[in-house]
């Protein structure tokens, strides 16, 4: 039985990510890559349009990751969390690079203590 708070893999909640790049810059092994662009968003009662970051790509290379959890600890928006998903294996080194889809699929829904 694997506990729900187990450090099996790192998961991403893309809707919470603001593309602030803190995880990418603090990662000691340089295993996170993030691509984003800015968009102007007009709101009816605002004088000027707001500039927001739109997340285009987010990749973690688990062939480089050492599971230190610094990215999870530092994310100001709780967009990264530990997940008990653990069956990470691949037949090529590139197969260990997971994108937004795979990372968000691992998001620990059953774990009430993370994410929020």
């Amino acid at each position: 039985m694997i506990p729900t708070e187990a450090h099996g893999t790192i998961a991403l909640q893309p809707s919470a990510c603001t593309s602030c790049m803190i995880c990418v810059r603090e990662c000691p092994t340089w295993c996170i890559e993030l691509e984003s662009h800015t968009e102007q968003v007009s709101e009816p009662d605002a004088r000027r349009p707001k500039t927001v970051n739109i997340l285009d790509a987010f990749r973690i290379d688990f062939g480089l990751c050492m599971y230190c959890g610094i990215c999870v600890d530092l994310c100001p928006f709780d967009a990264l969390a530990w997940s008990p998903e653990h069956d990470l294996a691949a037949t090529t080194a590139g197969g260990l690079v997971l994108g937004i889809d795979e990372l968000s699929r691992a998001w620990p829904n059953r774990n009430p203590t993370s994410g929020s």
Binding site: S19, M21, V24, R25, E26, C27, P28, W30, I32, E33, L34, E35, S36, H37, T38, E39, Q40, N53, I54
Partner: protein, 173 residues
Amino acid sequence: MTPPLDLAVEPGDWLRSVVALRDEGCEVFDFLTAVDRGQVIEVVVRVMNPATKAATMVWTTVPADAAELASLSEHYLGATWCERETAEMFGVRFMGLADQRPLLLRATLGRPPMLKESALVARAVREWPGAAQATDDGRQGGNPSRRRQLPPGVPDDFLRPDRSSLDQSAGTT
């Protein structure tokens, strides 16, 4: 008598201090390694008394540009391996160490890899992912200039084209 937990000595007193501890009963050699503090390199050895389980860490500092220290290998059998490792990883020369062969690295590798000024090839050949910025979507004038970012824990001149440590890595031993 209980030996101190930590003992800082001058490099000239290194051999005498550690041998004195051995004579007091600290006969087990645990490990010897070094820490790069920039201008100086700290060398530390941990020895233990097997009867009382009391252990002492002996520290000394040697200048980084002339890192020389007396070898403990004649007094502790296990010291040779650690001194060979510290020699090739931190560039500390152990005077009187009979076996000066490189332990793990090729002799032609260049700068000792554990010195902080030695750039990892894996870092130099790849662009830092943290340098990326959000691209603008239909705005005039491009990105506003932001302060230059550096990866955490690297020297200030990291990744500048005139870095000398990379050029030197092909030459000296």
